[in-house]
């Protein structure tokens, strides 16, 4: 039934909020590192939050009081990555100018108007993810747009804000957060209301925004560095917000499932939902009214001069959207694969490696996009150990046909465990030298002779298990077919 939905007819409206961490050396309001590399906490601090004034008046105060009464928040402290500012024990320092510069670059790439004066605001948050009870945020761009399939997609606003602390664990009355993410500069891009698009369009627009954002130098790459919130509503229905989608590739699915869910319900409320791995969502809390914000009086407002903007504009990087088009046409990569390569931190390395014409770019792209992800997720391989030279060496050997592409995962796994080793050592250690075609033919021939009852697929299975990682699977299929027709 999902395929039958006519998204135009049900008047699906959607909106995106894309959050991108910036890769400045220091945080937005203090001099802590943004590396988030430390593993050991040096201390834990215990805090409570109490109700704060609200537009909703005394009733909401009472509700907040009930919610917060027995709730305790624990904050993990990491050396060099959090200080008294994150602990709400010291007022914020001046706004990080490097982060402002990067945010303004992004705003300009998205064709925004830049305010003449940037005012830092406090946005109330009482789930404990901000030690202060609010998030510092400022608008740096408004009324922008980007082009998609000949249409203008409105960019309502671009904000520069501090990232929240990351949740470590959540109990019934307690929650533990990591402070090293708190205060990392974050750019939030909000689209206007989008109507007349399919779920796939929404996903592509999200990719497009991500790619434009990553055109500037100081943005972070990798897991959790870009996150999406999604708003969806259908015909006269209320708006539902789905938060924290880290995987762009499931966005279309999330939209579809949410539309199906909304269509199946007779009555609905405005609410906020979070996303499951499979793209379905669950209820988290009623959607707050218009965000309650008031001025951050500890930080001076910043005047943005015309000369300053002129300077940034003159030095604006070329948007990666051009690269996306080139990857699709020249390397025949699919839109998703091309977008994922551009969004990955291996973009530069990818471009260097595919200069070698003998390599199939989609194999290289898939290695960086899927193979590494599988190794990390399924086999818990620490892929951060892998260095550029490992990949360069690996793809050199592939181009020279010393190895086949099927050997890539095992070699990478080996190198991640022993980064000082080399590709050659991995190949000989794991016995992954490519098998000569004549040897493969002889092996298939013998197998076919000894096992007259086995069909084609069974033989392929046996061969693959014996020579895994040493032959091209296409070659095995081709050769087996020569000796066994059925």
């Amino acid at each position: 039934m999902a395929d039958e939905i006519n998204y135009k007819r049900i008047k699906m409206k959607s909106g995106l909020e894309i959050h991108q961490q910036l890769n400045t050396e220091r945080k937005l309001f203090c001099n802590c590192s943004t590396a988030m590399a430390k593993r050991e906490t040096i201390m834990e601090v215990q805090r409570k939050l109490h109700p704060v004034a609200s537009e909703l008046g005394e009733v909401d105060m009472a509700a907040q009081y009930e919610y917060l009464r027995d709730r305790i928040f624990n904050y993990q402290v990491f050396r060099g990555e959090s200080c008294l500012v994150e602990l709400d024990e010291e007022p914020p320092h001046d706004l990080n100018r490097r982060a402002l510069h990067t945010a303004l670059q992004i705003a300009l790439l998205l064709n925004c108007e830049i305010p003449e004066e940037v005012h830092i605001m406090r946005k109330t948050v009482i789930d404990g993810s901000n030690t202060t009870g609010f998030q510092r945020t400022a608008i740096v761009g408004m009324n922008g747009y980007l082009r998609y399939k000949g249409k203008k997609i409105e960019i309502a606003q671009v904000c520069l804000e501090e990232d929240a602390a990351a949740i470590v664990e959540q109990g019934e009355h307690t929650a533990t957060y990591r402070l090293n993410r708190l205060g990392v500069p974050l750019v939030e891009i909000s689209t206007g209301v989008m109507q007349g698009f399919s779920p796939e369009d929404v996903q592509e627009i999200a990719y497009l925004i991500g790619i434009i954002v990553r055109s500037v130098e100081k943005v972070k790459h990798g897991i959790g560095s870009i996150r999406q919130d999604l708003n969806v509503s259908i015909r006269n229905g209320p708006r539902v917000e789905i938060k924290g989608i880290q995987e762009l590739g499931i966005l279309a699915k999330v939209v579809k499932k949410e539309v199906e869910r909304q269509m199946s319900l007779p009555k609905m409320k405005h609410e906020t939902r979070a996303v499951n791995v499979d793209g379905t969502t669950y209820f988290t809390r009623p959607l707050p009214g218009s965000a309650r914000m008031y001025p951050e009086t500890d930080v001076k407002s910043i005047t943005i001069t015309k000369e300053y903007i002129k300077g940034i504009r003159a030095d604006l990087p070329e948007p990666l959207t051009k690269k996306l088009t080139r990857f699709k046409s020249k390397f025949k990569l699919s839109n998703d694969l091309a977008a994922q390569v551009i969004n990955s931190k291996y973009l530069e390395l990818f471009e260097k490696i595919v200069k070698n014409r003998r390599l199939d770019a989609s194999v290289v792209a898939n290695t960086f996009v899927s193979t590494l992800k599988d190794l990390r997720r399924r086999e818990r391989v620490d892929i951060r150990q892998l260095e550029s030279r490992h990949f360069i060496d690996l793809f050199n050997k592939l181009a020279k046909k010393v190895i086949v592409k099927e050997a890539i995962p095992d070699i990478l796994k080996y190198l991640a465990k022993d980064p000082k080793s080399s590709v050659s050592a991995a190949v000989s250690e794991l016995n992954l030298e490519v098998m000569k075609t004549s040897d493969l033919i002889r092996m298939v021939q013998a197998l076919a002779k000894e096992n007259p009852d086995l069909n084609k697929d069974k033989i392929i299975g046996v061969v693959m298990s014996r020579v895994r990682g040493r032959v091209n699977s296409e070659d095995v299929v081709r050769i087996v077919k020569r000796f066994r027709k059925k």
Binding site: Q46, R47, A53, M61
Partner: protein, 463 residues
Amino acid sequence: MPCFLILRLPLFLVFGGQLYSPEIEKLLKQKKVKIGSRVRITKGRGSYGGILMPQTDLGNPNSIVLKLDNGYNIGVAYDKKLKLRKLKGGKKVRFRPSRLTIRPDPTKPMVSMLGCGGTIASRIEYTTGAVFPVFSPNDLLLSFPQLKDIANLRGHKLFDLLSEDITLEHWQVIANETAKAIDKGADGVVLMHGTDTMHYTAAALSFMLQGLPVPVVLVGSQRSSDRGSSDNAMNLTCAVTAAAKADIAQVMVCMHASINDDYCHLHAGTKVRKMHTSRRDAFKSVNVLPYAKVSYIEKPGSIEYLREDFNRRNGGRLVVDDKINSNVALVYTHPNIKPEFIDSLRAYDGVVIAGTGLGHMPTNPSSDNLAKSILPSLKSLIAIGIPVVIAPQTIFGRLNMNVYTTGRMLNEIGVIGNGCDWTPETALVKLMWVLGHTKEPNRVRDMMLKNYVGEISERTDTR
């Protein structure tokens, strides 16, 4: 709606002034636009609708601050081409007091809450961020409903001041108002006070309120009250608990004991000092243990006593002895301090000098060519009847002026303080109070060295 700013006035206007340039003020007047009005500003390509905000006092007075519909503020620089139009809507920025009615519970103690600073109990108006200093027990209860489970509250605001502007005259007002509240049957008094000089006030009240029958608790907060993380909730809860229940009839300071929101310490008013610019556990007891800790998370409201040497609640008669002399100076000695500077202190009725180490100042006993002694200058101060008191600039530890020649020389000329472990601030306040009673040198010396309210500890505890 409501919230309390205990302590700091954010660097923001308190309603009234808008901090805009005359050109902008003129334009606003002409268009009959006020703070809180809905307006549309058009300038060049840009056109922005929103609510007119006041300019912050750190902001550029020549740009107009607008709160957009998405809640964000932006500034639009004023120039002649800027067009401003008043729209319908918007709202008047004003303070609405709480309409709570709470019946007193006769089984609960009565705690009197006195506001000693303008922003001690303030509410923020969230549209503009304007701060309204307010004070009434009902407004307090709106933000901190837990307080009604501890005690019946009454009280009022004494004055609107940042703590750095508090003077000796304010101490006298606080002392007398505290006595009045106790006379009217309060089982304890909570004084909400800015933190910067809270330890000076605590020391002054300790000397002024003699024969105290109930606890007097000073409390403040290090984080503004608009935020959910403000330490005001825990500090106030613990302070009201202490005033209602603690069996300590002393002047105390109740503040966070650590950077966790777990418990507060009750510090002796004469032995406490603000030791950090910003942390919530800025207040520390110096050279002694705090009287007690008041729990907030585990066994909330329970009081654990850490010492025994304090006065218990009693039926005695409180005497306010608020005579005090403001003409006293507190100075630091330092390398190359000039004898002429010490000479200039003749204008005062008394001088406290924060000495180095065990109680030293440059006296040049080895007759070095480069060193300069201030001993003759000190001597002539004392000779004309100006008491010179010494306190440790190390803050922690006890003076001992018998160990080095310098100390012995200072002791010999009559510098007061050998063997004392008071903080420079407590020494200052005590000298002010003593000089309010007498200027006779021997009497001053005797009173300074007499231990009135634990300002000099008999022994230094190993923690």
